[in-house]
């Protein structure tokens, strides 16, 4: 046990002078999106899919961070108070992501452009001609009342109202607590966290159904929401650790965060490596075992064909390597080593989403079989990540700018700072 804990003053922890970086990232983001649009002019489908991977990548980090905040409140956790503010600020990206969703998905959907989601095209759903490969798509036609442009936009609006609302409530109360240090706010947040986590769970699940699973509108899996969530939390922990390290280096969280907290984040990251693998394996194994064509087709062209190598990469890189790498406590307690693993985790979260989205690029197009096309990573994928990443950073940094990087008003701050692992 340590002696008395020095609670830092507000001045010590306020993150100042972030406006410049925020602006720079905004510009970088806009440039990135602009370049992507230019690159994608000739092939809007490709543009849409690349942007979707990048969007889901950054959105999932925000969602994971939101879940982190809710989880800490619902369990009245003590250890995490020192890093919770960073997570709260990470949830500040939702407005920027909402803008991207409007531009990338909602407006094209209402215009009837089936760049990303082929079910948006009425012809594709009902055609009995060559466009639909000669088969009547009965599996899709039946879900037209759910998969249509208007309802999609309405649902997306609901999801983002929930995400932004939760982020503002929990982030706002936490910020207000910095000033009034009212423990009643903690109690209030704890009480609301239960219902919030339900809303979050449903919104995230259906968000993943709508934005990712419906890329192949014929395919379905009840596990998909859980699968997406596992990736969200995994990547957001990595981002959280990286952001915390950066703020520590900058001085805002110096002598506040220590290896005990990184150790805990690392443990959660390890646990979610396992959890993701568990969910991914269960989903794959159950469909493989039952061998029903409308279920296996999604895996078929991912595993047996040009995407084979990519699938193996995912298995090894998303499961085996981090599983062994994050096993040791020494890895989790050393900032530099953990930082490297965090970057790795983010990379493979991107690989995971890429694997989920990109094979659908050509699925359903006449004469193209995803199993034969294979991955074609290109410049547009990089510019998309830069573009949306820029907006992500802008959302995060502009939210954090001028605010304390530590929940200094939290009644459990001292407990968190004194926290030691067993």
């Amino acid at each position: 046990m340590h002696g008395p804990i020095e609670i830092p003053s507000r001045d010590q922890v306020v993150a100042r002078d972030l406006g410049g970086i925020a602006k720079a990232s905004l510009i970088a983001g806009l440039v990135g999106i602009g370049v992507s649009v230019l690159l994608g002019m000739s092939d809007m489908t490709r543009f849409g899919h690349s942007m979707l991977v990048a969007l889901m990548f950054f959105l999932s980090i925000g969602l994971g961070a939101l879940f982190f905040v809710l989880l800490q409140h619902v369990t009245s956790a003590g250890w995490s108070v020192v890093v919770r503010r960073v997570a709260e600020m990470l949830t500040g990206i939702f407005p920027m992501m909402a803008l991207v969703v409007v531009g990338l998905i909602a407006i094209p959907a209402l215009m009837g452009k089936a760049w990303i989601y082929d079910w948006l095209s009425h012809d594709w759903v009902h055609a009995e001609g060559e466009y639909a490969g000669g088969e009547y798509r009965g599996l899709i036609a039946g879900k037209e009342s759910y998969l249509n442009a208007t309802f999609l936009v309405v649902r997306l609006a609901v999801y983002f109202v929930i995400f932004i609302g939760l982020s503002r409530f929990f982030g706002g109360n936490s910020l207000a607590q910095d000033d009034d240090q009212d423990p009643a706010r903690t109690v209030k947040m704890q009480r609301r966290s239960g219902i919030s986590i339900i809303l979050f769970g449903l919104a995230t699940t259906f968000c993943s159904f709508d934005l990712l699973m419906s890329l192949n509108a014929e395919w379905f899996s009840t596990m998909y929401g859980v699968y997406f969530f596992a990736g969200c939390f995994w990547s957001s922990l990595a981002t959280l650790a990286l952001a915390t390290m950066w703020l520590e280096k900058r001085g805002q969280l110096k002598d506040v965060v220590n290896e005990e907290h990184y150790h805990d984040i690392g443990k959660l990251m390890f646990a979610f490596t396992f959890f993701w693998s568990y969910v991914a394996f269960s989903q794959l194994m159950l469909y493989w075992y039952a061998d029903i064509s409308e279920e296996t087709m999604w895996f078929n062209y991912r595993i047996w064909g040009e995407w084979n190598g990519f699938s193996i990469l995912l298995l090894v890189g998303h499961f085996l390597i981090p599983m062994l790498g994050l096993l040791s406590r020494h890895v989790k307690r050393r900032r530099n080593v953990l930082a490297a693993w965090c970057v790795y985790v983010l990379l493979f979260h991107y690989v995971d989403l890429y694997w989920n989205v990109m094979p659908e690029l050509v699925n359903g197009l006449p004469g193209l079989d995803p199993a034969e096309v294979g991955p074609a990573f290109g410049l547009i994928d990089i510019t998309s990540v830069l573009g949306i990443g820029g907006l992500f950073l802008y959302g995060f940094l502009s939210k954090l700018d001028g605010k304390p990087a530590l929940a200094i008003g939290d009644p459990r701050l001292a407990e968190s700072m004194a926290f030691e692992n067993i």
């Binding site: 369990t75 956790a77 423990p183 239960g194 699940t205 009840t222 075992y289 029903i292």
Partner: protein, 500 residues
């Protein structure tokens, strides 16, 4: 501890939700190590003649039910599985329902001892021993059902890959064989976990033993434990490792049980969310059973200050949370059954809710999803009658969940010509009832003769266990100085009383 009046800060009164203060895990002004030892060790040390009357009454009832189970098993084995209601097409009737039911209950123990250990939920120390015992006894009950369901029980060893004169091996591609491995691994690892946790407490009983029988019995099973710090060091590391191993094990066992159903093509069974959904359901039913057992036990054996209302409150919340997860799975299954557009799948779900087993379905939904919502209210979580009632309805609901999954899907398969209806026979019912006899007999024996609460672990989370940070005062008093408002100055680190 009552030294802190939250109202003194001028703010609202938070009760024991005051975020500035972690509630104590052991209630009472003058509780110390010796009083905990006395409270827990006192139970097995009561002389046989002075056994609690309520215990004897319960034990007699349980023994009677165990006798019923024995009679039913004998009847079954001597006559054949035709005595059950299993028919064509419902080949899996009550025996499998009961198996999944009991295995599910067997999940809370390891969850409490392993997962809550890893997440530093120190309140678990008061209930983990009993929950682990419950786990093992539930798994015993569970293992019995598939054991006799195979029909020819005398060749049950064929389940295991043993060399034999037929030069045959079991089929490792079948989920039923995965079950054999998962459940037997789970049973044995849980037993090891339970026993290992009990070694220091058995040593306590050994050292307090007043007669030779106890000295020898507890002496042998405590393995000569001295409490050496060098031993504790390895013991703690081993405990951590076991917890880290048991956590994925808990996940895997009920997942494998769910694979029994989900790998098939039967509508209503074949859905990918089954593994986590079954795990959530297992924890749900397990916690319900822990509450059902511990609420009366703490009353009868004077453990109210160790298993406090705070503990019950937390368990009620977990019950509700897992109930919601189960509700989430119901909802997603229903949605995807429609969204998937596969007519068999959508029929299976419509049939569940509105077919001829609709009664079972709605019992399941109300017991598992609707009733536990009462626990949003703290008043309900603090009312032991409500807690008992909900924990029992949850157990009923979870039994019906397995019934609904098993029977509705089988009775309405792809071919309408082979549709059927399942009705249990009296053997089915008495056998299920008898399994409670087995469970409660074992559990009551455990309550009576073994340390019901992990004394060493409870002591280690009492404030006294953390010393007084170098100053000479120690014991309770020093820790009453809960930090004042965190106004940015120096704060004393609060003792880690109750880390959630």
């Amino acid at each position: 501890m009552s030294s802190q009046d939250p109202a003194a800060f001028g703010g609202p009164s938070f009760g024991d939700e005051d975020p500035r203060q972690r509630p104590l895990l052991v209630d009472g002004e003058h509780e110390d190590f010796a009083s905990v030892t006395q409270a827990v060790s006192g139970i097995p040390e009561v002389e046989l003649q002075k056994t609690n009357k309520a215990w004897i009454a319960c034990f007699m009832v349980s023994l009677g039910l165990l006798g019923v189970l024995g009679a039913m098993l004998a009847h079954l084995i001597l006559t054949g599985v035709g005595v059950w209601g299993n028919n064509n097409p419902v080949y899996w009737g009550w025996p499998i329902v009961n198996f999944v039911f009991w295995v599910g209950i067997g999940h809370a123990g390891t969850l409490i001892s392993a997962v809550l250990f890893l997440t530093r939920q120190n309140w678990r120390t008061a209930v983990n021993r009993a929950a682990e015992a419950m786990t093992i006894f539930a798994v015993v009950c569970a293992g019995m059902f598939p054991g006799v369901h195979i029909g020819r029980v005398w060749v049950a060893y064929w389940l295991f890959p043993l060399p034999n004169q037929m030069a045959m091996w079991p089929n490792f591609r079948s989920p039923l064989l995965w079950d054999v491995f998962a459940v037997s691994t789970y049973a044995s690892v849980s037993l090891v976990f339970w026993y290992m946790g009990m070694i220091p407490d058995l040593a306590t009983l050994r050292d307090r033993a007043s007669n030779t029988a106890r000295k020898i019995g507890y002496g042998i099973f405590s393995l000569g434990w001295t409490g050496s710090s060098r031993h504790w060091h390895r013991y703690e590391r081993a405990y951590l490792l076991l917890a880290a191993l048991a956590t994925p094990l808990v996940l895997s066992v009920h997942s494998v049980v769910s694979f029994d159903f989900a790998t098939s093509q039967v509508p209503g069974w074949h859905t990918t969310i089954f593994p986590p959904y079954f795990v959530a359901g297992a924890i749900f039913s397990g916690f319900a059973m822990v509450l059902t057992l511990m609420v009366p036990a703490r009353q009868f054996f004077g453990l109210k200050h160790i298993i406090t209302m705070k503990h019950i409150d937390v368990m009620c919340r977990i019950l509700m949370a897992t109930g919601l997860l189960v509700g989430y799975a119901y909802a997603i299954e229903f949605f995807i059954a429609w969204y998937g557009g596969v007519q068999y799948e959508s029929f299976a779900f419509v049939n569940r809710a509105f077919g001829n087993y609709a009664w079972a379905y709605w019992i399941m939904v109300s017991c598992n999803v609707i009733f536990p919502q009462l626990f949003w209210s703290q008043k309900m979580r603090r009312n032991l009658w409500v807690v008992m009632l909900i924990s029992i309805t949850t157990n009923i609901g979870m039994w019906f969940e397995r019934f609904v999954i098993t029977v509705t899907s089988l009775s309405r398969d792809f071919l309408p010509s082979s549709w059927g209806y399942f009705s249990p026979t009296w053997v089915d019912m008495l056998m299920f009832l008898g399994s409670f006899g087995l469970f409660f007999t074992l559990f009551l024996l455990f309550l009576r003769f073994l340390p019901t609460v992990a004394m060493a672990e409870v002591k280690s989370v009492m404030p006294q266990a953390h010393g007084a940070h170098g100053n000479e005062t120690h014991g309770h008093g020093a820790h009453d100085e809960t930090p004042a408002l965190p106004a940015g100055g120096a704060q004393t680190a609060p003792a880690q009383r109750h880390e959630s």
